[in-house]
Symmetry: C2
Subunit: 222 residues, 2 copies
Amino acid sequence: MNDLFNELEEKIQYKFKNRNLLKIALTHSSYANEHNLENNERMEFLGDAVLELSVSKYLYNNDKHDEGILTKTRAKLVCEQALNIYASKFDFAKYIFLGHGEEATGGRTRKAIIADALEALLGAIFLDSDFNTVCNIVYELFIPYIDLALENKDYKSILQEKLQSEKRNIRYEIVSEEGMPNDKTFEAVVYMDDIIMGRGIGKSKKEAEMASAKNALEKEAR
Amino acid sequence: MNDLFNELEEKIQYKFKNRNLLKIALTHSSYANEHNLENNERMEFLGDAVLELSVSKYLYNNDKHDEGILTKTRAKLVCEQALNIYASKFDFAKYIFLGHGEEATGGRTRKAIIADALEALLGAIFLDSDFNTVCNIVYELFIPYIDLALENKDYKSILQEKLQSEKRNIRYEIVSEEGMPNDKTFEAVVYMDDIIMGRGIGKSKKEAEMASAKNALEKEAR
């Protein structure tokens, strides 16, 4: 168990003073019930608010949109799906303690279990240190994907606005798809009327389209 | 304007390094529009998350209920109505900058305006200092009322559980009501079957009932 803790601490670049907090954060209720331990649900309650404030601070400082847009963007960045994206980047699911039944029925791939445990991990770091420390860890672990989400939104809307004012039509097309089912790469092109304006790749169709929009804008700027 | 800022800083026991942050926090969009200034809406977005984490931390440390109950209690403690209770305790509404039209149509008593500005104030303190500082201010300003909410919930549920196990019926009755419309005091009694078990007073009917439940439990304990 200590090896797993060391490995996880190495990945998140944080060493717990009180490892019991880390253990609780990783303890799903199914494991807690089997071993008569405290589960991670109360810590998830706390971590949820830690994540919310970390992301809010980041958006306040880096996104100049009004409050309505910020609220929508925040909801997107702290939702179950987003948490699963962040978690997948450091293979977080393997560290969760699951009961036998839950393990047997695929609990380790269940999005709610993974998202809740990741929030609990943030709650545990917060209790073990302070807000600034956990906020910086959120930024280290999540920012590349937060930036992507923000960037994507900007590039698509910028391109859309730009081309609408010129009364041109745009459409996106996925032109290739490579790799294993759980690790695909897509390539997209964006057409203006019938001319290819940009190309981009990404780990999802949407990401690839966004990258192609960015590429088109970069070409325009030159 | 500086006199008002000094007075507010004195009340919240926090001196801004950057008073421009305080000014933005107090600037409602109606005033911002009239004077071409930044309004407090983005800061409210941030302050909302500051309040959420402050209250979450408090509940995590002081309320041993499970996550479902904590989530419900948190929602109650950060809602518009709760924010208006906190704000009324230090006459916060008077410090908000309102446009002429908004002022003329009663904006200074509008619950949403007051709640939003109070959240923005927390956002401003957070930006000017750090999470610990603003969290302690939340505790100083709000805790007496947070505790009341928690206490109330406990007394009512404790009495309810206690009497249900004894198969007794309870009912509450408001027996008096005194004072001006905006500053009333209520008195409640709680009956077990047809016997008065406790009496209590409060600033609302609910508060009075809660106090009577507490009184009933205290009598039981003797």
